[in-house]
Amino acid sequence: MSLLLQDIMERIYTMNRINHAFEKPGAFIGFLTGGDPDKQTTINCIKALIDAGTDLIEIGVPFSDPCAEGPVIEKADVRALENGMDLEGIFSIIEEIRKNNQNIPIVLLTYYNPVFKYGEDGFLKRLKEVGGDGLIIPDMPYEESEEMRKLTKENNLSLILLVSPTSNERIKTIAEAGDGFIYVVSSMGTTGVRSKITTDIPSMIKKIKDVTNVPAAVGFGISTPEQAEKMCETADGAIVGSAIVKIIEENGKESPELVYNYAKQMKEAALKGGLKRQ
């Protein structure tokens, strides 16, 4: 195969991994912090998530000052860093998962500084090399993302952009630049479990769908099957982070089985919601 053709095939294959996650309605996306409380537990929990039918894995790169995070994920970051997790450790988690699984899409959620410090292009090349599919940078808004969008494209990775309840007329611009999927922030504030989500999600989704076919998944505050079902009645997927991290906080190494049970019911609920939509 010529290099060019190989590149094209590779590109299609990678894009397909994230696209594939949204082929069926009601995708369930699970987040956990890499290295919380240790690398092996993270690997075991990711495997449990995959076994339970999770459609996309989001691994949080622990950061000293996670300003967009609520207390649950912030504490997970502290635990991971205290136990020595670093970027190479995060990359090796993806490598480990890829040994047995070529299909599950894996994206990183990382603050910009660790990427910047590593060197953007080097970071993306390493992420690609270990089998990652994309990244989410919560402190990089659209206006600061031009260079990173270019670099992710060059490296056949997706830069997943976020829209929030305050985005309003910005939604169109962001959605047009969307790649992989659009991360719809469901409520104001930081990540964390919320009992009620009051934002008008359907109208946000509609604004996105008006301009792009890129799937839209909703996150921030989703923890119950009811919420996941409801979100997937309008969105292409539901993202759950803090609720999973909370299980890991409380159960440490014993978490994988509980994570499996939780993810299974969440996946079923997401699917149920997604089917109603069709």
Binding site: S64, C67, N113, Y118, P165, T166
Partner: protein, 399 residues
């Protein structure tokens, strides 16, 4: 001429690295700031408050005894310590609060380290009838207990922050989180020339009254510009204010005095220009104390107000283009200067400002007696008396 920021940048530094949820708020603020800074009614209101509420212009005092003792240039002190609330912080707070009101915000939140910015914000919130919440590292609420009570007296709620190192950077994290939750009715009144655009430019604008006054006062008193202007730098608001109107006068040396803590060769330092590297944090690209993986480092200084792992992007720019010098000053040197100024001039400086006094002592012999230099005395030192006593092994309260 000095390049004005383009798109919120000073050279390569600055920017708007904040979560999407805050983007419309910072864009709205940027538009409001650039509109009102040229609005005559706004400027009348602002200048009126500076004059009749904050007590401006602040004095430029000739420090005769200190000058004689050091035997170098004539040393002048810009007396920001004489402002209402005891520091330069009130200048910026008044400006931003007036903009916040015009944007229909009813609540002010702020981070504070030493408590000076928190006290200024609580004061102005009380005066303008706005709600006020202050975020302060737990460690700092202990170091600056008096200021905590002062803020509560003024009607503000003080939230101690336990995360991370429980100091200024963690207070900023928490204030950012709170702003993300309540962005529709709340203005985050950032206290230094840091954070996402427009904050670095806006805070500098409201603080630049300091250098504007210095220029007029020194020309009136000495008939010529100072050979140097010195100011302490944490985030860098008093320094930016004191430098700004001298940037286009290359004969005036601009010297920022960083908190070296126990020394720049130790990990117990907060000198971001001297020990930091390029990074992106708290909304801006600038210099930060961090490890090779981009994790922000815990920093240390005796001064709670300078105990921050970064510096405003305009300072980083001035440093990189060589227009300003940034020097480290240790705890010990700052404490000695705190005592020296108290003894020679009868003026107790904030421990932050004492860093600038300490460096003036160090470099006095670089100047002739017909030259003059200006130290920006950013705040008064009453709040620090107990901590300095502790540093010297005396506990004032627990006998």
């Amino acid at each position: 001429m000095y390049n004005m920021p383009k798109m919120g940048r000073f050279g390569d530094f600055g920017g708007q690295y904040v979560p999407e949820t805050l983007m419309n708020a910072v864009i709205e603020l940027d538009e409001a700031f650039h509109h009102y800074k040229n609005d005559p009614k706004f400027n009348d209101d602002f200048n009126d408050l500076l004059k009749k509420y904050a007590g401006r212009p602040s004095l430029l005092t000739y420090a005769k005894n200190l000058s004689t003792e050091l035997g170098g240039p004539k040393i002048y002190l810009k007396r920001e310590d004489l402002n209402h609330t005891g520091s330069h912080k009130i200048n910026n707070v008044l400006g931003q609060a007036l903009i916040a009101q015009r944007l229909g915000k009813t609540r002010l939140i702020a981070e504070t380290g030493a408590g000076q910015h928190g006290v200024a914000t609580a004061t102005v919130a009380a005066y303008l009838g706005m709600d006020c919440d202050i975020f302060m590292g737990r460690e700092d609420t202990v170091r600056q207990a008096l200021n905590v009570y002062r803020m509560e007296l003024l009607g503000a709620k003080v939230h101690p922050v336990d995360s991370g190192t429980a100091t200024l950077k963690d207070a900023v994290n928490e204030a950012l989180r709170e702003w993300t939750r309540k962005v529709t009715d709340t203005h985050y009144l950032i206290g230094s020339v840091m954070g996402p655009a427009p904050f670095p430019e806006m805070v500098r604008h409201f603080q630049s009254v300091i250098s504007k006054e210095i220029k007029n006062q020194i020309l009136e008193q000495e008939g010529k510009l100072p050979s140097a202007v010195l100011a302490c730098v944490g985030g860098g608001s008093n320094a930016m204010g004191a430098f700004y109107h001298f940037i286009d006068n290359p004969e005036v040396r601009l010297i920022g005095c960083e908190a070296a803590g126990r020394g720049v060769e130790t990990p117990y330092t907060a000198a971001s220009i001297n020990t930091g590297t390029d990074g992106i944090f708290h909304g801006m690209k600038s210099l930060f104390n961090q490890n090779e993986e981009g994790q922000i480092a815990p920093v240390y200084s005796i001064s709670a107000g300078l105990d921050y792992p970064g510096i405003g992007p305009e300072h980083t720019y001035l440093h990189k283009i060589g227009r300003a010098e940034y020097v480290p000053v240790t705890d010990n040197e700052a404490v000695k200067a705190f005592e020296l100024l108290s003894r020679t001039e009868g003026i107790i400086p904030a421990i932050e400002s004492a860093h600038a006094v300490a460096h003036a002592v160090k470099i006095a012999d670089e100047f002739n007696s017909d030259e003059n230099i200006v130290i920006n005395l950013s705040g008064r030192g009453d709040k620090d008396v107990a901590a300095i006593a502790r540093y010297n092994g005396k506990d004032l309260y627990d006998e």
